[in-house]
Symmetry: C2
Subunit: 338 residues, 2 copies
């Protein structure tokens, strides 16, 4: 059985502004272990299971040069270009259709976001192997045991049936409020939806025809006409026969600057530093990102992110509020910084 990795690298996203920009999405940022770009680390960590020739990267036309510069040995045919951004369901169907046209419709696709961090790569490979096996028969996802009552992720609720390490999914649930998130963590049945999906290409296309006929039609016509819809909402929440492999492998979606501090080790004064030199005088517990030298005097618990043309300073506790900064930039038409 052939296995393909399909890495989704089309996103924009400004949650890690000012490092991430419309033209420099998160997956190009050097936040993976070893200072690698998140996209490169994603490609490298599936390599024990999938040779480079069977790694596809789905991306936007504008990002193709940087994708190729980031994953240097990727065969030229393995970059699948989305004509326009239409969210994950059309992008994944496009990759499945690409495999079908190549005569590999039977192959299992391991669909992987390109902008997450995994700190335990050995555990990741083990879980991935289980998920790929289960995907010969089912629609499969990976569920991450929740470490805290996150309100920024969807969850999968598992049922009682199991097949080896895979367990039946009772339902997909959207991002909860804090009370509900606490119940989910307490239940032992709820796992974070990691955004990784596994299925045969032809199975995904069949589910697409059934649940998203507009998307299926657009694949053979004009991709632009596909509705923008996520695979979670468009297929996984509606289809039956969904299974999950639960697994803990140091996963994080790095959704904000405080997440980054959870992943990277702090120095003796509690600073997490990614980038250039840090000079800290009577300062503690700051998260400091960027190539510029940063000098901190007498400050504590801040996030400081520097880039050539923009700098962000805020308390770690306000990490979610980067979106308010981005909204302000949009409102004030400071597009050069977006």
């Amino acid at each position: 059985m052939a296995v393909y990795a399909v890495i989704l690298a089309g996103g924009g996203g400004t949650r890690l502004w000012p490092a991430s920009r419309r033209r420099r999405p998160k997956h190009f940022l050097p936040f993976a272990p070893g200072g690698r770009a998140l996209l490169l680390a994603t490609a490298e960590r599936v390599r024990p299971l999938v040779p480079l020739e069977r790694i596809l990267v789905v991306t936007a036309a504008a990002q193709v040069p940087e994708v190729r510069a980031t994953v240097r040995d990727l065969p030229v045919d393995n970059v699948v270009v989305e004509p326009v951004a239409r969210n994950t369901a059309p992008a994944i169907a496009l990759a499945a259709r690409t495999l079908e046209r190549r005569g590999d419709g039977q192959a299992v696709m391991a669909v992987l976001p390109s902008d997450h961090v995994v700190t335990d790569e050995a555990a990741f490979v083990r879980i991935l192997g289980h998920a790929i096996q289960a995907a010969e028969r089912h629609l499969v996802t990976v569920g991450v045991p929740p470490r805290y009552p996150a309100t920024g992720f969807g969850y999968v609720e598992l049922g009682d049936r199991s097949e080896g390490p895979a367990r039946e999914v009772r339902r997909f649930v959207e991002k909860p409020d804090l009370d509900r998130a606490r119940q989910y963590v307490a239940s032992g049945r709820h796992f974070w939806n990691s955004g990784m999906f596994f299925f045969r290409a032809e199975r995904l296309l069949a589910e697409t025809r059934r649940h998203l006929p507009d998307v299926a039609r657009a694949l053979d016509g004009r991709y632009e006409e596909a509705p923008a819809i996520s695979i979670d909402y468009g297929i996984m929440e509606k289809a039956g026969d969904i299974w999950a492999v639960p697994g803990d492998f140091g996963w994080s979606d790095v959704g904000n600057w405080t997440d980054l501090a959870r992943i990277h080790a702090a120095d003796a004064e509690g600073h997490v530093r990614i980038g250039g030199p840090l000079v800290a005088v009577e300062a503690r517990d700051n998260v400091v990102v960027g190539d510029q030298l940063v000098a901190l005097v007498g400050v504590e618990g801040l996030v400081v992110v520097t880039t050539e043309d923009a700098v962000l300073v805020m308390p770690r506790s306000r990490a979610q509020d980067v979106r308010e900064v981005v909204a302000r930039l949009e409102r004030e038409r400071l597009d050069a910084y977006l």
Copy 2:
């Protein structure tokens, strides 16, 4: 009587690090009213009294190109180059000797630091006029009425004799501790030493021969052999016949980032912004300097200074501790940032 302005622009100085650097001293920074370089503003505010042809700028060889780019119409002969830095007494004597050689030894020199801020230029011109008149007969300085018990300046203690607006100086006093600074402010006799000096060129040369014979010899021999010594310590504290014109004209030496906030107007949220765009979300009373866009979320009372390669973040109350950062850079041999 000919009057020359002698602007001292040889200094290095890192008290406004990271904006000021060894190779980009404070006098080139755009912190004067209207966003002008401090040096340019210095030249422009003496223009009502001194034509450009009689403005000399004393500087280091390495700074000549930027001096010329900053004060664009300055005649080429009016840049006096210090072969090496030897502090103010030799630099001023060098300018006096230059005037003497040009046949202008009788002229009054108005010696002006290049890196101070003056917000009331009309008052400045008035005081300067008085000081120039008094300098026909005496050694003269300008004393600034102390607005707070500063420990970062020297003071002049005035006596009872007066000649028009000029008053006799009883003595020069070095930077005091806080207790003594408070006594000075209360005394009504003590004024900040503004670092501006006024005398005839030949008088200054005579005083130099008397109090600093090594300096006088070096002027006609090898300048390198002059001892490095300030005019305050080397001449003004020793010579007699010193007079001061007291005057308030919004003077500041901009010795640190908090001083800068005293000079520039704050916006409705208390932010002092010099440079690029500021996006402030629930933030108050920050001092933000640099061309980069700066976004602040939920922070208060910080100084944030951005440059292409280095960024400083500290509470306004810690402004003096920039020197600790600079010391750390020196110790860790991060010379590129100095």
